[in-house]
Symmetry: none
Subunit: 152 residues, 2 copies
DNA sequence: ATCAAAGTTTACAGTAATTCTCAATAAAAA
DNA sequence: TTTTTATTGAGAATTACTGTAAACTTTGAT
């Protein structure tokens, strides 16, 4: 089974945000990257994350952190861990739970998701050939849907 | 659209525009030329393009730039690249033999272009299946390059 | 129960990328 | 040429977002 081997990247995050009419911001990218670079098995509270990012030279306000870890949890990108202590911890939801590609009408933004093992295979092969370690690959198809194509 | 052999020239641009009841304006010609003269592998945001044209002595208003890069993307002349920066980038959408995809290191941003007939085929099939008119399909692979993977 | 501190959410004013409005202009057709 | 109508530039409008600060809400201790 090939599906489910990919990691979230800024690109896949952007794709999923855009699909819902939301935006990829520097802050969201930084937060995702922080979780991706976290050693396996580690997890962070909101306050932990604020400190970590501050130390890295990327200070992000606590409210933005709260807003976005909540958002990413709802999107399935992060998992909320409930420890008895009363404050939540978060970690990346690995592997990428619902890996898919996008067919988008550039006029009306209608978006169709589709899965493809072939694409993933091609991605693996290309990455390997260049000696890269694959994280994610996404096919984005830009097109015009029937109604939009019909009109001039 | 993706299968032609030639690059767009002002002449073919005019033909395609007129065919749809649109006009060739100096601004559109300038924008197309700017993209044609862009070094291989480069791409521009709307703001980049405005600055470039300004420096060249061809200032074009930002709204006109936005209007026309959108139009040209819909015509299949430009392709919209979604690198995760919060704003879109554009490059010429080159027809089949030069049509390419991107392999990007998420850490150092090293980018490798590669070609793939299989991806193009998958894109065509998916678009057809949904009854969409294909404009562009791009596989974006995110990975770690050897040096970046070696380091923690 | 009551209180303080920690943890989380909300209100609000300002920001950035993009789109829209509209009077003036200029391609293309007649 | 003249007419028709798409297009332009300037600035306003739009929209999701952010940081600051104030307002809740738990939780644990008294």
């Amino acid at each position: 089974m090939l599906t489910g081997q990919c990691m979230y990247t800024s690109h896949s995050l952007k794709a999923e945000l855009n699909e819902r009419g939301w935006r990829l911001t520097p802050q969201r990218e930084i937060i995702l990257t922080a979780f991706r670079n976290l050693p396996k098995g580690q997890h962070l509270s909101a306050e932990d994350l604020r400190e970590l990012l501050s130390q890295q030279g990327n200070p992000i306000s606590l409210s933005t952190i709260y807003r976005n870890i909540k958002l990413m949890s709802h999107m399935g990108i992060l998992r909320e861990l409930e420890f008895a202590e009363g404050h939540k911890h978060y970690e990346l939801n690995q592997p990428y739970p619902n890996h898919h590609h996008h067919l988008i009408c550039v006029k009306c933004n209608q978006t169709i998701e589709f899965k493809s093992d072939s694409v993933l295979k091609i991605g693996k092969t290309e990455a390997q050939q260049a000696g890269f370690h694959l994280l994610d690959c996404q096919l984005t198809i830009h097109a015009l849907c029937p109604p939009c194509h019909g009109l001039a």
